[in-house]
Symmetry: C2
Subunit: 137 residues, 2 copies
């Protein structure tokens, strides 16, 4: 079983600060690798989810790319089965596709998150992934 401590020891990019907004359940961490700006339009983050942690359903107006670097977790688009994520997996998320991502119950997850076409606006945050939805994966 991976724990967040195990993940941290193996990880390349810093874990950053604990995410304290209401769009996440469980404990997750964020390090800004590239801030948003008006030239590259491509803010890039290192995100670490402790076991069981995940974000709410949400959409990105410009899309997103996830590059999984550690642990094990899930990515799910609305109306589709969840995809299990492992290190080396790449997820491309089209604009305005409702989705969530996060750790497995028994493993942390670390991924790089690249916000594509960031000039099109911020993520639209929606309802949480309920414990029932999550436990039924």
């Amino acid at each position: 079983m991976d724990t967040s401590n195990d993940l941290q020891e193996r990880e390349i990019f810093p874990k950053g600060e604990e995410i304290t907004n209401e769009y996440f359940r469980g404990t997750a961490w964020l390090q800004v690798l590239v801030p948003n700006d008006s030239t590259l339009h491509c803010p890039t983050y290192n995100v670490t989810f402790e076991p069981g942690a995940r974000n709410n359903w949400h959409k990105h107006p410009g899309g997103q790319i996830l590059l999984v670097t550690g642990g094990r977790g899930f990515y799910q688009e609305e109306g589709r089965p969840a995809r299990v994520l492992h290190p080396g997996d790449v997820v491309t998320i089209r604009p305005d596709v409702k989705h969530w991502h996060g750790a497995a119950p028994d493993s942390g997850l670390t991924h790089i998150a690249i916000s594509t076409n960031a000039e099109l606006g911020e993520a639209e945050w929606l309802e949480p992934v309920t414990d029932e939805e999550y436990s039924n994966l």
Copy 2:
């Protein structure tokens, strides 16, 4: 000393195919993580340089982000001293800034390369980094 074999064992993303174009010196490898497309505009690659390998001087009309994941190498912008790269380093390259990147003489280098604003066009490839320039770093 890192060797490309050592790098490969530690690396998260595949090494891909050997780069055979004339814009690289030495041996380098490329794996497409996200292909270019007309929606995300953000092709993303895993690039592995064997010791001594580097690319020519070049410019990206839309800019580029490098996320260093293994080994040791260099990034240099024209007219500036070379920056030594280590795992966890992030390089943001503004549009049309002339630069090169590659491995150290005694270590391989692996980085993720994100082409930002790819709708603005392909890289403009220029002259090689000469052995004299490289050996004087």
